[in-house]
Symmetry: C2
């Protein structure tokens, strides 16, 4: 079960730097892409930035539709995360091959990925070229997280909230214990 997260706290679903699965849709074409390169960029309004390689299929879908969804996978989805970052949606239907399940979003057309633990539904407000990538800045219109995982912060001590953090190649790490100064 997913519960709404206030948009004003949505940055805290990705504040610690996890890999995300971005879903996009333009007309009947839709795709999933794994992105390590993402960050919140404003509190008010709540904005997030994602970098997608210029030649990637999702780049065109996000450009044309002006929408995307950030889905936060946990460690149980490691194989799907690696897969969705390794092949092109031009060549394969990643939804079918990954076994991930599309679910309607509230505010945008691209679907959510049911198996992920959190979602940020975004409308593109600015696109800026950045070298071999495009940087899409999206305003968060709605956010949600699996029940019991988010209370002011994402509780990464919960085994369900072990997000994936991409070191490079096929190496990842997951959060250890929460700490405070």
């Amino acid at each position: 079960m997913k519960k709404p997260v206030p948009v004003s706290s949505a940055n805290r679903l990705i504040n610690h730097g996890p890999v995300i699965l971005v879903t996009s849709q333009y007309n009947d074409a839709r795709n999933i892409v794994t992105l390590a390169w993402n960050t919140p960029v404003s509190h008010s309004p709540m904005l997030v930035a994602i970098a997608i390689a210029k030649n990637h299929y999702s780049n065109g879908l996000v450009t044309k539709s002006g929408e995307f969804v950030i889905n936060v996978p946990n460690v149980d989805l490691l194989k799907q995360v690696q897969y969705c970052g390794s092949v092109s949606g031009r060549d394969e239907d990643k939804w079918k091959k990954s076994g991930l399940t599309a679910e309607p979003a509230q505010k945008v057309k691209p679907p959510l990925i049911r198996e992920c633990i959190a979602h940020l539904e975004c409308k593109v407000v600015k696109t800026t070229p950045s070298g071999d990538h495009s940087l899409f800045i999206g305003q968060v219109l709605a956010a949600s997280a699996e029940e019991g995982l988010f209370d002011e912060i994402l509780n990464t001590d919960n085994p369900r909230a072990k997000t994936l953090h991409h070191l490079g190649g096929d190496f990842y790490t997951v959060p250890g214990k929460k700490i405070q100064p």
Copy 2:
């Protein structure tokens, strides 16, 4: 001891989403600011993006100088990280109060922080407003890491490479074990 990291691999010093300490300098004024909001945004050229609140002291220093350094702290610097993200450089000399040590960079004027485990020296190539923050896109001119911590990827299994990942408030987490699909 620090060793050079090829600029073409510099993204892998921050690819997994750690908190960074950004140093900036304009004439005699210099500052340190803690930033969770950062990400690589291009491979070729190697570009990174950092978001700094518009009213923050470091925003003006980076804007005026066109340079910044990303320093990667490890868990041993948790108190300094929290401190440098909690006060303004307009009010306090964070270098003095934190006890962190400035060291000359190779390619830019802002100093490195000796106690950090990795550094990316950056020249601003583009600035774009993003809500209540400015997004500075910097080209990496030089990078380095503590000896023994970087070999193709950052070895977060090494106790010295336990980076900090900001969940919100004063909550952080550190990397657990490296994993592969």
